[in-house]
């Protein structure tokens, strides 16, 4: 499809796709980790100064 330059073109798009997927995984996994830590703290009786739930995002 890309002729004799295929390896350079495919490598560019593949590298971009890999890095974008890694960035997405980074934010998704980090979000789950922080939510789990907040749930754990809440279960151990931690309360915010405002009195609202630690996991309340609204």
């Amino acid at each position: 499809m890309f002729g004799r330059y295929a390896e350079f073109i495919v490598s560019s798009y593949a590298a971009t796709a890999i890095v974008v997927v890694l960035l997405i995984l980074w934010v998704v996994i980090d979000y789950r980790r922080q939510k789990a830590r907040l749930r754990d703290l809440e279960a151990r009786g931690a309360v915010r100064r405002s009195g609202r739930s630690a996991t309340d995002l609204s």
Partner: protein
């Protein structure tokens, strides 16, 4: 909603939760359309099919510089106005900017090999982009080295503003020095030099990548606010246990 109201981290969390699905959807749609247009674009009469690398290289290069610009504005917010979300914005933009800069360097290198006959040349444009990448890594290291977020924020803000000097150097390096890199062909005073067949997919990809940055940045800021909430609660628990 005013900017002051948005500065409240709790309000930001609420807004982020509502915005993120829409941002992610718009990003996916634009990047899909951009990819289809990029694949359908004709070969260049000189560069052949390698012109397709431009559709990922140029948006990454633009964003590499744009993200540092965003971090510079956020740094002003930290130093001048002590905006509650400013250092959160600066800190979370750095890894995303580093990723875009890495991709700009890598895809540029993969484009350079068939066109210039070399993966790398120590010329002004390439070297100033490499310096930008190293500055991103330095900032990430600084954030990780200082435990207190407010102390780290001030040091990082100063470093970011000093590093912003590199942005015009990158932009005008192709005009000021003799480089292998071609001069600007889109953002020019006389208008874009690119044919519409290449300009349309490039602009769609550029908007798609910009939305990708916005989506990732809002999500990463939300994570950082939650991380700080965890830290505060842990410190409150520790002081309560000490008092008991």
């Amino acid at each position: 909603m005013t900017l002051t109201e948005l500065a409240n981290p709790t309000r930001f969390l609420s807004l982020a939760g509502r915005l993120l699905p829409w941002l992610a959807g718009a990003t996916a749609l634009l990047l899909t359309v951009g990819l289809v247009l990029a694949m359908l674009a004709p070969d260049d009469y000189q560069q052949g099919a390698t012109v397709k690398i431009m559709f990922v290289h140029v948006p990454n290069a633009w964003l590499a510089m744009f993200v540092w610009g965003v971090m510079s504005l956020a740094s002003l917010g930290t130093l001048v106005w002590r905006h509650p979300l400013a250092d959160v914005a600066a800190k979370t933009a750095a890894p995303i900017g580093a990723a875009f800069t890495f991709l700009a360097l890598l895809t540029g290198s993969l484009w350079g090999r068939p066109m210039w006959g070399t993966y790398w040349e120590w010329d002004a444009r390439l070297t100033s982009m490499l310096i930008l990448f190293l500055m991103y890594l330095g900032l990430i290291a600084l954030w990780r080295a200082v435990e207190d977020p407010s102390r780290a924020a001030r040091a990082a803000a100063v470093l970011t503003l000093v590093g912003a000097i590199n942005l015009p150097i990158i932009k005008f390096s192709v005009d000021w020095w003799n480089t292998l890199h071609q001069p600007a062909s889109v953002m020019r005073m006389s208008g874009p030099a690119l044919d519409k067949a290449f300009l349309s997919p490039l602009l769609v990809m550029a908007v798609g990548f910009s939305l990708l940055f916005l989506t990732l940045h809002v999500a990463a800021m939300r994570n950082e606010i939650l991380r700080r909430r965890v830290r505060t609660l842990q410190m409150m628990q520790a002081s309560r246990a000490e008092a008991a």
